[in-house]
Each structure stands twice: as C-alpha cells, then as structure tokens.
C-alpha cells in the first residue's frame, strides 16, 4: 500500500494547489431577464511564450473555440509586456452553461460546478435569482463558521485587494491582528478537517467489521487528541505515521496492526482529495434591474464580486448568489386605475346615499 506522508498533506493544505502558469482571471456573468447569460472571461498573463500563454488546460473556467476571443497587450511600469485575452459567449440558458462546466478541460476540471437561474413574477415586481455553486471537496469536514467569529469570517471571505487596502489603512494594526488570527484559525480548522475526513473514510472502510473500538463515534471522541498530536509533532509526523505510532495512540496497538491497510487507504483518499488541482479566480455577476440581495462584495461600479479560492469550498458548498428585481410598469398602471375606480365607486355611493 502506498503510504502518503502526513507532512505532505499539511504542505498541500497550506500551499493548496498553487500553480504558476495560470493566468489571472476574472469571469463576469451578465444575466439577462430571459435567463440567457453573456459570459465574459478576462485573462491576464506575463508569460512570454506564445504557446504557453492562455492554454485552455490552464484556464480556470470552461473556454473553447466557440467563444469570440480578443487579444491585446500592454507595457507595465517596468516595461514588461502584459498579455490580455478577453473571451465572450452568449449562453441561451444556465443549462447550456452547466453543460460547458461538465465538459470543462481547464485547470479546475476536477470540481463540480453548477449555475442556476430563477424568475418569479410578484405582481408589482419580477424577481430574479442567479447563482454559481461549487460543490464541497471534503465530505466529513467542519464548517469554517464553527472556528471563526463574524469579523474573522468576513475577513476570511474578503478579496485580496480589500485585505491589502485594509492592512494599509489607518486601522492597519487592527487588520493585521485580524489577519494573523484568521491564519491561525484556518490552520486549526484545516487540521481538524484532515482528521475528520480521515475518520470518515476509515469508518467507511471498516464499517463491516462491526468493531466498537473503531466505530465512527468512538473515533470522533478521540479527534481533539489526534489534532493536538498533528499540531505538536509537526516535523516528525511522517516517521510517526510510518512507524504506526500515531495510529497506536489513536486506535490502540492491537487495532493499529489489524487495520493498518485501511488506515493507509483512508489517508491516501484524503491526500487525493487535497491534491485536487485548483486555480484561483474572481467571479462577477451583473444582474438585470435593481440589485436587492447578494452574498458577494459590491465594487465601485456596482458590480458584484466573489473571490474563488479552494478554502471556500473545502468543507461546504460555495454558493455565489445575487437577487434583483425589475418593476412591472403595466401592472402598476392597471393596479392604479383599478384602485381609482373602486375609490370613485365608494365616493359615488356615499354621495348618493346622502
């Protein structure tokens, strides 16, 4: 059985899927009232080699030859050439967009992503909802909100530009402290998730054995102790796991020997999930009508923005949604006339009664 060093897992979690060649990408969905979506991908690269630049396999979202592509370049302040590619395509509906996601061969092809659109007629207004959702990576992890308070959560989900701006503002000390706190808690949360996921996978593999000592509940009760070992023995984890010491501490000497193969397999599965390729990008949504709700960030152009990072869909689905409304003017007119008619009728009746 192929044993994956635990240290490697931590390394992959901390460095989570960072690659160098992928372009800096911003994806914008222009949602139309009929449910069609114009999708625009703006990419930026400093890669000099024409053949390596904007390779479809390195682009974060689906892109193929059916898109209309426009290339341009500019010089940076240091006179380096920066390459830009803008691709645009009109999708008739979200189903078409979902099909593109399913057929994606880009940098994030391993992810399960979907979009949705709904339109509700609410007499005076018509309300629209659009979302893009990325499925969670870990099945037995903990929601990040269990580890952070509201301020920390807000910081955790903030785009890098906002974090940088805050850390260089008048309240820089406060935000730096907040940033450090978020980092520490993120590490703790990650450690708990790895252990929890391993417990989940190990329990699945050993469920048929009906052994009380290695049942899911029993393993869960030992979880905090295991996390402490993981945090304390940072450097020697690899050898501790190889020698079976960690496993012995966790499930006892007898079980460590008995279930060694299952324990390694579970660790291998956790590592595979952690090693899923992912490349960060930003998503923007432009809704029809007036915006009435969102869980994203609003920029100065009144556009919505979400940073898309692997941490966000680590243990929970990451849904980026926006809601807007348009006013049904003809309904306002009809309703106004109806009200005037009824009120006039009531007045006429009062006059005639007198």
């Amino acid at each position: 059985m192929n044993r994956k060093p635990v240290k490697l897992i931590i390394f992959f979690v901390l460095m989570f899927m960072i690659s160098c060649n992928e372009p800096e990408t911003v994806v914008t969905n222009y949602v139309h009232p009929d449910g069609s979506v114009t999708r625009k991908i703006e990419m930026k690269s400093i890669e000099g080699d024409k053949n390596k630049r904007f390779k479809i396999s390195e682009i974060q979202v689906p892109l193929d030859l059916s898109w209309s592509v426009k290339d341009s370049f500019a010089l940076s302040k240091k006179s380096d050439t920066i390459w830009y590619r803008t691709a645009e395509k009109l999708f008739k509906n979200v189903e078409e967009l979902n099909l593109a996601y399913k057929a994606d061969s880009g940098a994030n092809k391993g992810l399960s992503r979907e979009t949705g659109f709904s339109r509700k007629f609410k007499w005076f207004n018509t309300e629209y909802r659009f979302y893009e959702k990325i499925d969670k990576n870990f099945s037995s992890g903990y929601p990040v909100k269990e580890f952070m308070n509201d301020d920390e959560l807000r910081y955790f989900y903030s785009p890098e530009t906002l974090k940088e701006a805050k850390e260089s503002s008048a309240d820089s000390l406060k935000y730096k402290a907040l940033g450090d706190s978020v980092k520490l808690k993120t590490d703790k949360w990650t450690a708990y998730n790895i252990i929890s996921e391993w417990i989940g996978e190990f329990s699945k593999l050993t469920t048929e054995k009906n052994d009380e000592e290695i049942s899911f509940q029993s393993l869960k009760s030992k979880e905090p102790g295991f996390v402490k070992v993981l945090e304390k023995e940072d450097k020697g984890l690899d050898s501790l796991w190889k020698n079976g010491i960690i496993l012995k501490m966790f499930i006892g000497e007898k079980n460590a020997l008995k279930y060694r193969v299952e324990a390694d397999s579970a660790l291998s599965m956790v590592t595979k999930k952690l090693m899923l390729d992912f490349s960060d990008y930003s998503l923007r949504i432009v809704m029809p009508g007036k915006l009435i709700g969102t869980n994203g960030f609003i920029d100065s152009s009144n556009l919505l923005l979400w940073p898309v990072k692997s941490d966000y869909f680590f243990t929970e689905p990451y849904e980026m949604w926006a809601e807007s409304k348009t006013t049904n003017i003809w309904i306002w007119l009809v309703s106004g006339l109806f009200l005037a008619f009824v009120v006039s009728g009531v007045i006429v009746r009062v006059i005639k009664k007198d």
């Binding site: 341009s72 207004n125 807000r154 701006a165 923005l305 109806f338």
Partner: protein
C-alpha cells in the same frame, strides 16, 4: 247691473281679440322645446354613465369583493416595497470595494497603439482603425475631463508662488537633461 256686466264682457272679448301678435310662435315653441330637451338630455347622459359605471356599488357582494381586492392590493404593495427597501438598505451596509477588480482596460488599447506608433517609426501603420461611437464619446469625455483638470492644476500653481518656483526649477532641470535634437 246688467248693462255693466255686458260692458265688462265686451271689454274682455275686445282684449282677447286684440292680444299680442305672435307671428313666430312656432319658433318660440321650437326654441323652448330645444332648450328644455337639451338640459334634460345632458343631465341624464352623465347620470346614466355614472349609474352604469358604478352600478356595482349597489350589489353588496360585488362591492365587498372589489373593496377587499383593493385592500389586498394596497397591502401587497406596502409589504413588497417594505421588504425590498429593507433589503436594499441591508445591501448598502455590505462591504463596498473601492477599486474595481479588472483585468484589462481601455488604456491597454492606447498602450498597444503607442507600441505600434513606436515600432512604425513614429507613424501609425496604414490600416483602418474601427472605433465605436461609444468609444469615441468616451474619448472625447476623457479629453474634456483632462482639459478641466489641467485648468484646475494651472490655477493651483498660479495661486501658489512657492509651487510655481518649484515646478519652474524642475522644468529647467528636465530641459538641461534633454538632448537637443
């Protein structure tokens, strides 16, 4: 008494016979009838229309149904607008980014043109540049904005003698560094 009563009767007969000459009685009759009928017709048409339009007010169940529908409509309107306003208010309290997350800008195109300008011996290559009306409008607006800013800058420099001296000094330095072609 008899001759007196005879005299009276004669006078009455005489007066009756010598009444005012109504040569146009038909005209008078027509005018009077028209005026009367006109007045009556106008009043009844308006009244009829009102009665027809609002006849439902005399039918209890229709009247109640329409009033209820109106109340419900007003209630829905107030409720919907209240919810929407509250949600918009909540949105305004959400974080607003100062800078727009943007990969490419219009400036890129200008950079590209400058590079071409330099590469082609400070001449633009002979080709057709297509520019949309919107882009043209944006260009004109930015030029106007630049002019205004330039004017503002000039007035700031003019009003501050120290700044004026500093800029003059810097300009002189720059001129010394320039190679006179």
């Amino acid at each position: 008494m008899k001759p007196e009563s005879e005299k009276y009767q004669k006078i009455i007969n005489l007066l009756k016979e010598s009444g005012p000459g109504l040569g146009s009685t038909e005209d008078i009759e027509r005018v009077v009838i028209r005026r009367i009928s006109k007045g009556n017709y106008s009043r009844s048409w308006f009244s009829d229309t009102i009665d027809f339009l609002f006849s439902w007010v005399y039918i209890v169940w229709v009247r109640r149904a329409l009033i209820s529908a109106s109340v419900i409509l007003v209630f829905i309107f107030i409720l919907q607008q209240g919810v929407i306003l509250r949600r918009i208010d909540m949105l305004s309290s959400q974080t607003i980014l100062n800078n727009r997350e943007k990969v490419s800008t219009q400036v890129d195109e200008i950079d590209k043109l400058f590079i071409e300008y330099k590469n082609w011996g400070k001449r633009f290559p002979s080709k057709t540049i297509t520019i949309s009306e919107k882009q043209m409008q944006e260009l004109l607006e930015s030029v106007n904005e630049l002019k205004l800013k330039y004017k503002d800058l000039e007035s700031i420099i003019d009003s501050d003698p120290e700044l004026q001296k500093m800029i003059q000094k810097k300009l002189n330095e720059n001129n010394r560094l320039k190679i006179n072609l």
